[in-house]
């Protein structure tokens, strides 16, 4: 079974606007891979389509993970396959507490066909322990668990909650969509530490970012650049530094030549 995420000639549009124009990309299992690109290049669209957002129309191509074309799967099935999207803009759900949401998510992952969900559900004590440990690592107050999901959360709190969910769901492939946006340096460090703790042989990370800044904290082995709906260059960490130094216009000019 392949742990690589393989994207082949992916094309997608929203309303009548074509956003992805043939994306080809392989994220190797167990690696950290960054996608950089200017605003509007299609990075967030790609992240959302990997997770199965219903608002985009995929007009061509395939996304393979664990021997399945995941474009045929519902978002919850993709999650259970080991994919995780850390949202750029996490969604508020009033009346649903963080703790209840997390427990429902964990139990959905533990459910097995033909078995009573009560049988496979996480024992309450074990859940509480995991939750407490996760929140401690991310420097979150315990009262956090009783608050309604993302309701009235600051930007930093929302991103920490995304990492807490990732910590507890233990995905094998995490897509981080602009996780650094809206974070001060302290929050950025906590979030990056959370990712670094998990990334490794058991979890690959696809880190999507506009700025090099995040990559000072999360060190990618591979860097790809996305422009105008396509991956236009692949390289190593040095590519990110080059972009930081010269900006995107340099690459745009080089590609036009």
């Amino acid at each position: 079974m392949s742990n690589d995420l393989v994207i082949k000639d992916l094309r997608a549009r929203i309303d009548d606007k074509e956003i992805l124009k043939g994306v080809n990309l392989t994220v190797r299992g167990g690696t950290i891979h960054a996608i950089m690109g200017p605003n509007g290049s299609g990075k967030s669209t790609l992240a959302n389509i990997i997770a199965g957002h219903p608002g985009y129309e995929v007009t061509g191509g395939e996304i393979w993970y664990k021997d399945q074309n995941i474009l045929e799967l519902e978002p919850d099935e993709r999650s259970k396959l080991g994919l995780f999207l850390a949202f750029q803009y996490p969604v508020a759900v009033p009346g649903v507490t963080v703790a209840n949401f997390l427990r429902a998510a964990i139990n959905a992952h533990r459910a097995e066909a033909g078995k009573d969900p009560k049988e496979t559900a996480i024992p309450v004590a074990e859940f509480r322990k995991q939750l407490r440990e996760g929140m401690k690592i991310l420097e979150m107050d315990e009262s956090f668990a009783r608050r309604y999901l993302n309701e009235g959360f600051s930007g930093g709190e929302k991103k920490r909650l995304e990492i807490l969910q990732m910590t507890m769901l233990k995905p094998s492939m995490a897509v981080m969509d602009e996780t650094d946006s809206g974070l001060d340096i302290d929050a950025l460090r906590i979030v990056a530490d959370g990712v670094n703790r998990l990334a490794g042989p058991h979890m690959a990370a696809l880190v999507i970012t506009h700025y090099q800044r995040l990559l000072n904290y999360i060190k990618p082995q591979f860097v790809s650049v996305m422009m105008d709906g396509r991956i236009v260059r692949d390289g190593g960490p040095e590519l990110a530094l080059e972009l930081e130094e010269k900006g995107y216009d340099w690459l745009r000019e080089e590609l036009a030549a």
Partner: protein
């Protein structure tokens, strides 16, 4: 009165059966007067409540309804009284005479008159001065097999600085034929008292519920009211909190779920009379299938009141494109002195972004929808003082999604 239908009744039979039950003369006279009003009044002009399927004239009268109570008997030692209303007529006649039918006016329309003429069951709750009843009092009205009518009454008198939690529940299985349930609930909250009132309408199919509810707040009285409506074929509830006393306040939460072909109307009013009174109302409505709900809420600020703070909100969630919700919030102000006043209503489908976010964590669409609906209703559900009741209502809600 077995096998007597509504159309067989006359003022004389009403009087005769009241006497037969040994009721005091004033009550017999009130029943007669209400019956005369009923007999002469035309059908109510309700624009949204469709009663064409009811045909009340042909309904058989039940000898009595069925009320059951559960409470901690230790409360009796504190002086709390809870008894069937008929029984209480013998022991607390003066109290009942002074209060009954004074909050919910009997001669308003055909059905209010019918309720006053025919009430046949009920409960009296009396909480004396300075008594804090710590455990909830649960009054449950059901429907004996074969009953086609039910006219229950709740009369609660909470004296100065007393505290109480009252749960009033209407429940029965699905009915093979049309049933008219026409209850009245009157609560008198004395100066400085604290009242929690949970009203739950969860009748089965076939029931037409035409109810009147009023809570009257004296000076500095505080009310937490939760109105839950899940059952019945048709519901038409006129409810009011009267903030009569200075400094009185109410926090009123609602949860209504109309599914199948249900029509559930609630007309909750906030009526401000006293000075510096505060009111907040938040009703949540979910509609599914071809269900239809109506929120006919109103803030009425009378001319004698000053420094009122009030806010009314209704939020509706649509689970089906064929379901319908009418929200008609109103504000009537007859004074120049209002501190804060406002209302808001929103209406929409289940949010696609919420569903996607939850699904992206492995939660199925069905489960995500269930969690969103429960979360939507959480202010009302969280206010329930009994875990068992909450569990039952959650199961009912789940079945309607």
């Amino acid at each position: 009165m077995n096998s007597i239908t509504l159309k067989d009744l006359t003022a004389d039979t009403i009087v005769a059966s009241s006497r037969e039950r040994g009721e005091p003369g004033w009550l017999t006279e009130r029943r007669r007067e209400a019956w005369q009003f009923f007999a002469q009044a035309g059908p109510p002009e309700w624009r949204r409540t469709n009663l064409s399927g009811l045909q009340p004239e042909g309904l058989t009268l039940s000898a009595s309804g069925s009320v059951s109570v559960s409470w901690d008997p230790a409360l009796a030692a504190q002086g709390v009284v809870l008894k069937p209303l008929h029984e209480a007529l013998a022991s607390h006649e003066a109290l009942i005479k002074a209060r009954l039918d004074t909050a919910v006016a009997p001669l308003e329309h055909k059905f209010s008159a019918l309720r006053a003429a025919l009430w046949n069951d009920g409960a009296l709750l009396f909480v004396p001065k300075n008594v804090a009843a710590e455990t909830p009092i649960h009054v449950r009205y059901s429907l004996p097999a074969g009953s086609r009518t039910s006219f229950p009454r709740t009369l609660a008198i909470v004296e100065d600085n007393a505290q109480v939690t009252l749960i009033e529940e209407f429940a029965c299985a699905d009915q093979p034929a049309r049933v008219l349930a026409a209850p009245v609930s009157e609560i008198f909250a004395g100066p400085g008292s604290q009242v929690r009132f949970i009203s739950v309408q969860r009748w089965g199919d076939g029931v037409y519920h035409i109810g009147g509810q009023k809570v009257l707040l004296e000076r500095d009285a505080a009310l937490e009211w939760t109105s839950i409506a899940l059952g019945a074929t048709v519901q038409h509830i006129e409810a009011e909190t009267t903030l009569k006393g200075d400094g009185s306040r109410v926090n009123w939460l609602g949860a209504t779920f109309a599914s199948g072909t249900q029509l559930l109307l609630t007309a909750p009013w906030l009526r401000h009379i006293g000075h510096h009174a505060e009111s907040f109302m938040e009703f949540k409505t979910v509609v599914n299938d071809t269900g239809y709900s109506v929120f006919d809420g109103m803030i009425k600020i009378e001319h004698e009141s000053t420094a009122t703070s009030t806010r009314l909100e209704e939020h509706a969630l649509h689970l089906s494109p064929r379901a319908r919700n009418d929200s008609i919030p109103g504000l009537k102000i007859d004074t120049n002195s209002v501190l804060k006043g406002g209302h808001a209503s929103t209406s929409g489908d289940v949010d696609e972004e919420q569903l996607f976010y939850m699904q992206a964590r492995g939660i199925s669409k069905t489960e995500a929808k269930r969690m969103i609906v429960m979360g939507f209703f959480s202010p009302a559900l969280d206010s329930l003082p009994l875990e068992a009741l909450r569990g039952e209502l959650e199961a009912m809600i789940e079945a309607k999604i």
